[in-house]
């Protein structure tokens, strides 16, 4: 099972707004193959960067309104929030080294 926090429509704003660390939200769904492949990579990244960066998951089936609010049209999409504001968006599954490179500015 995933060690990452699962956000919901109810908890999303609170979690994103109150996070002291940059928070990466992984918009995903069960039926998305690339989402499944990138999941263990995100878990490893979260563990290795604990204390610097948080990663949480948002299932778009359960939270379609949040996905719509952020105009997510493709999953997996990662959105990096800092102080409650969306700072960066990464569309599509990527390997660990490429993700690290993209997230370097927040770590």
């Amino acid at each position: 099972m995933s060690s990452l926090t699962n956000l919901s429509e109810e908890t999303f704003d609170e979690e994103v707004g109150s996070s002291d660390l940059p928070l990466v939200v992984d918009f995903w769904a069960e039926w998305c193959g690339p989402c499944r492949m990138v999941a263990p990579v995100l878990e490893a990244l979260a563990e290795e960067n604990a204390g610097k960066l948080r990663i949480a998951k948002l299932n778009v089936d359960d939270a379609p309104n949040i996905a719509r609010r952020f105009e997510v049209m493709s999953i997996p999409t990662l959105i990096v929030f800092k102080d409650g504001v969306a700072k960066k968006r990464l569309v599509g599954a990527k390997g660990k080294s490429q993700l690290l490179q993209e997230l370097a500015e927040f770590i």
């Binding site: 998305c32 193959g33 499944r36 990579v41 049209m73 493709s74 997996p76 599509g92």
Partner: protein, 315 residues
């Protein structure tokens, strides 16, 4: 000193994972470089990771989801001791033995290499493609169809993959236009019939997309009729492309004999132009391209590799 493996497998679709199951059961402790996550078909698990229901893989009466099938293949390979690395091979050297495979600066050595890097979907080759990727243009219908509820979208292509995508997308879309450059489909009869019977699917024959349009996100495409040369605009918010495949053989160019399209040439089973290097799956097959044929050829590659190792002995 780099540890020399008996078997190194590049790629992890049905071919690579079947080769892993067989060589692992033969106690050859294969190492699989399974690739890196991506939203194209060039990723761990291969092309089936982007499909939903697989109805023709024998043994599954009610069908099985593509990603579930690949998870089962992988689990079975792991059960017999296959080692996996989620990395993508970046270069090879087959000119001397043991063979060398690199992931950036990391070097791997093996007595036999099984190449099963597969093929990936072709893109249109339009300049505007990059700009609309994830903003209406998608490489993965199963990932992104959900976001086009009650919207008009289009699929480019006339083969089985195009029909599968179009049919899948009718679950969400208001209307799916299939754009095909000819006036007849290449798809199998059963898929053609299913698509033609579906009320949500329309066909735009003899046509090719020439430009993607929209401010920020896709709102339409320009389409050219290849017979009349006339151009028109089609209002759509989503575009899915299924116009064929290209083999993932860039790192193998100059190291293995290939055909004009870049597919690896195999002979006498899974043998390539280099003794001790074997190839299986879509990287050497542009004719059948099925999960079951890929798996079958992966089994052949494993048996060929095992016999070859026996014939040369361990040094």
């Amino acid at each position: 000193m780099t540890d020399v493996r008996d078997v190194l497998i590049i790629g992890s679709g049905p071919a690579g994972l079947t080769a892993a199951i067989y060589t692992a059961r033969a106690n050859l402790r294969p190492l699989v470089l399974e690739g890196e996550p991506s939203s194209t078909s060039d990723q761990p698990g291969g092309q089936l990771m982007l499909t939903t229901e697989v109805e023709n893989y024998p043994g599954f009466v009610d069908g099985i989801q593509g990603p579930d099938l690949m998870a089962a293949f992988r689990g079975q390979a792991a059960r017999f001791g296959t080692e996996f690395l989620t990395v993508k091979a970046t270069s090879v050297d087959f000119s001397s033995r043991p063979f060398g495979v690199w992931v950036d600066d990391e070097e791997y050595r093996a007595r036999t290499v099984i190449v099963s890097t597969g093929a990936r979907s072709k893109m249109l080759g339009l300049e505007s493609e990059r700009r609309f990727m994830g903003r209406g243009l998608s490489t993965c219908a199963t990932c992104d169809g959900f976001f086009f509820s009650d919207q008009p979208i289009a699929v480019v292509g006339g083969g089985d993959s195009a029909m599968e995508e179009a049919l899948f997308l009718t679950r969400f879309a208001e209307k799916v236009t299939v754009i095909h450059r000819r006036d007849t489909l290449r798809a199998s009869k059963i898929m053609q019939e299913r698509a033609q019977k579906n009320d949500k699917i329309e066909f735009l024959w003899d046509s090719v997309p020439v430009e993607l349009e929209g401010d920020g996100r896709l709102d339409g495409i320009r389409v050219r009729n290849v017979k009349s040369g006339e151009e028109s605009r089609l209002d759509i918010s989503g575009l899915f492309v299924a116009i064929g495949h290209v083999p993932n053989t860039a790192i193998l160019a100059g190291h293995l004999d290939m055909d004009e399209a870049g597919y690896i040439r195999t002979h006498d089973g899974a043998k390539t132009s280099v003794e001790g290097v074997f190839a299986c799956g879509d990287v050497q097959d542009h004719v059948y391209r099925q999960a079951i044929t890929a798996a079958g050829s992966g089994c052949m590659a494993a048996i060929d590799a095992e016999r070859w190792l026996e014939s040369v002995g361990t040094d």
